[in-house]
Amino acid sequence: MDVLNAIVALLNFVVIPAMAYGSQLALGALGVTLIYGILRFSNFAHGDSMAFGAMVTILVTWWFQSMGVSIAPLPTALLALPFGIVGTALMLLATDRVVYRFYRQVKAKPIVFVMASMGVMFIMNGIVRFIIGPDDQQFADGARFIIGARDFRTWTGLDEGLAFKTSQGLTIVTAVIVVAALFWFLNKTRTGKSMRAFSDNEDLALLSGINPERVVMITWIIVAGLITIAGVLYGLDKTFKPFTYFQLLLPIFASAIVGGLGNPLGAIAGGFVIAFSEVAVTYAWKKVVTYLLPESLEPSGLVQLMSTDYKFAVSFVILIIVLLFKPTGLFKGQSV
């Protein structure tokens, strides 16, 4: 029995990665939920817009790196982030102007918006591949670890090491700041309140003189901020590859729906529910179990519930269960 080592192993391989992944999903899901709340459609181009934001940031990062600008030990990408957000915001606003605004004016059915977002998805995917190519891109720099596994072992004298990557720490801290700022904005400012009013009841909001085009514009700008941050953090934490961002669509949607589509608080909860279940189901528990059980009972296999490739299945199953038993999500979302 070695409870301490077991806890450290659990933190190292399950809790910390899931926290970071959950924060990234939560930021992505917040974007989905905002678009759903204000524009009232599920945006299929979300994953690829995320890739676009990350790409702009990466390009600026490379430019900074080539000029020798650095904020070590933090990654240079943080410095490039504002540029990425501005670029993405401009792109999203242009898309809205060219594509979505027309359908808003003719009051098209939500499904038409979804189809249009499919077209935007193709275009965005094409642009990203066109500019940066379909391959993996490296852009992380600065210190790799906040706590290294070896240092941790010398400090504590435990057998099990704990590694805390800079990208993970950064992800969690950034997510907290962004979410706090977003909630302050939605709940305290005049613009934020008008956005919530618009989301709750469009007709009433119009009657009380809220300008819908302005609300929509601000929504896109906020969404640009959220997805660029989420995309860059995901790229720093794992890797940047356009196709993975497309695949993120499923867990992000699952997070937003599980939490209750249209409900920002739900999006965050949903993100963490999905992330923790994915990591817990696909992690090989052998190490933790070995520490906890007496030697005679040591497991022979990996004690992995499902292979890592089935992580999409996990978010999907959770999604279906929630939809079947609690269709509005864990927190009360909109059920249009």
């Binding site: 249009a116 190519g133 089935y310 999907f316 999604l319």
Partner: protein, 451 residues
């Protein structure tokens, strides 16, 4: 222009495109019948998929973005039917795998039964959870040993269960008709999966159904990629038998050589063309039968009921139509068509390569075909499939041509010029998006609108 004139005219234009591709060597056209037939074969298969999607979307308004999964299931069926059984696989672990799967399904049924028949409360939740945990570990315990057994048999070449081909390892290619048998099986397999998905997800709102089908497609593909005992996963199954003769055999047959000489054609070229042409004829036969059936159904009382449900669910319900059951029915039918098309495609390729299935290519592109062609109109989706597939292939030469034009003024060897020329291949997705958005915006009813 009246629609009775418009439809044949559109098809004639598309036919002209294929003829130009085969005969002339100007601009983007390669002037090779071989390439023209290659494009045509895939276009015919895409047309079957588009018909399936049109059944779901055009008739019933169901938004299915899981086409890729059903197509992959059709491909899986081809392997499971047309390949020879791996010697010893069933003895060492096949039966055990089957037992494990039955055990897994049993666990789920037991849980559904518990949910339906026990009083709601904490004790039900606990018992259901216990069933899940115990059932899962027993399932894994039975399955894993079987899987290990099967995958250990000559892993470099087989390592999977194999199919039902009666010819055995050495002579299975002689039984090419097995692939034809696999087509309906592919449809059935996809229909079964669609029934399961439909049972759980069809009651949901349209965009939830979209997410659910998107997810199921990823899961089906993950299973095919990872369960090596089923169809070798990403190691691919190659050398599937064919329903048409092999080129090599044709080149050695005296009667074929005589015929090729008679029309003054190189024997090698003639054999390639003959094989491709036989595939085209097979696929055309399937497509024609399907289009006739789809047209008949559209005009039948059943078709009118479907459209009534699509246009106003509440009114149809008030008239006593069972909307959920009709939705399930058409969802299963449409997915079966996608499965059939998937089996046809794997037959054409002669191999199952799960790594090449991409949602953009197999789900969203089919959607572009349906929308561009005209949703709700069967001939429209077929036309859309031909047009879009033709351009999907030809965008690359068009892109190259365009890039050469754009970069002609730049200095040779400049970084931008090389980058632009290299990136021409990525024009595909971009141009498909543009086409989709333009059609949605300016001609939302498509090339041949629904009457």
């Amino acid at each position: 222009m009246s629609q009775s004139l418009r439809t044949p005219l559109m098809f004639a234009l598309v036919a002209l495109l294929f003829i130009l591709e085969g005969s002339t060597q100007v601009w983007i056209f390669s002037g090779s019948w071989n390439s023209s037939l290659t494009i045509l074969n895939m276009a015919l298969i895409s047309a079957v998929m588009a018909l399936g999607v049109n059944l779901q979307w055009g008739y019933a308004g169901l938004f299915n973005v899981g086409v890729m999964g059903f197509v992959a299931l059709g491909g899986l069926a081809t392997v499971l039917v047309a390949m020879p059984p791996t010697p010893g696989a069933w003895g060492t672990g096949g039966l055990r795998i089957l037992a494990g799967l039955v055990m897994g399904a049993g666990t789920i049924f037991l849980m559904v039964w518990q949910y339906r028949n026990m009083a709601a409360g904490r004790s039900r939740s606990l018992i259901m959870f216990a069933t899940l945990v115990v059932g899962f570990f027993v399932f894994r315990w039975i399955l894993d040993a079987g899987v290990a057994g099967v995958e250990a048999i000559n892993p470099a070449q087989t390592g999977y269960l194999g199919g039902l081909n009666p010819g055995g390892q050495d002579n299975y290619r002689a039984h090419g008709y097995m692939t034809l048998l696999a087509w309906p099986v592919g449809g059935l397999l996809a229909a079964g999966a669609a029934w399961l998905v439909g049972k759980t997800a069809l009651g949901l709102r349209s965009d939830y159904l979209a997410i659910a089908t998107l997810g199921i497609a990823e899961i089906i593909l993950a299973v095919i990629k990872n369960e090596d005992w089923l169809a070798r996963g990403v190691k691919n199954v190659i050398g599937l038998p064919r329903p048409v003769p092999y080129e090599v055999d044709l080149q050695q047959s005296t009667s074929f050589i005589e015929k090729a000489d008679a029309i003054g054609m190189n024997v090698t070229t003639a054999s390639t063309l003959a094989v491709k042409l036989s595939y085209s004829l097979l696929f055309t036969a399937v497509l024609v039968v399907l289009v006739i059936l789809a047209q008949l159904s559209l005009k039948s009382p059943w078709g009118r009921m479907m459209r009534a449900i699509r246009d106003n669910e509440v009114a149809a319900q008030a008239m006593g139509k069972d909307v959920t059951r009709r939705h399930l029915q058409i969802f299963v039918l449409g997915s079966a068509l996608c499965g059939l098309a998937g089996a046809m495609m794997t037959t054409l390729d002669g191999q199952l390569t799960p790594g090449t299935y991409q949602p953009l290519r197999f789900t969203f592109l089919i959607w572009v075909m349906v929308i561009v062609g005209g949703s709700g109109n069967n001939l429209g989706s077929v036309l859309g499939a031909f047009v879009i597939w033709f351009f999907w292939i030809q965008v690359e030469p068009i892109g190259n041509w365009l890039m050469t034009l754009v970069t002609s003024g730049m200095a040779d060897g400049s970084a931008l010029k090389t980058h632009l020329l290299d990136s021409a291949a990525h024009m595909r997705l971009f141009s498909m998006g543009i086409i989709l958005l333009l059609v949605l915006r300016f001609s939302p009813r498509g090339l041949i609108p629904e009457k």
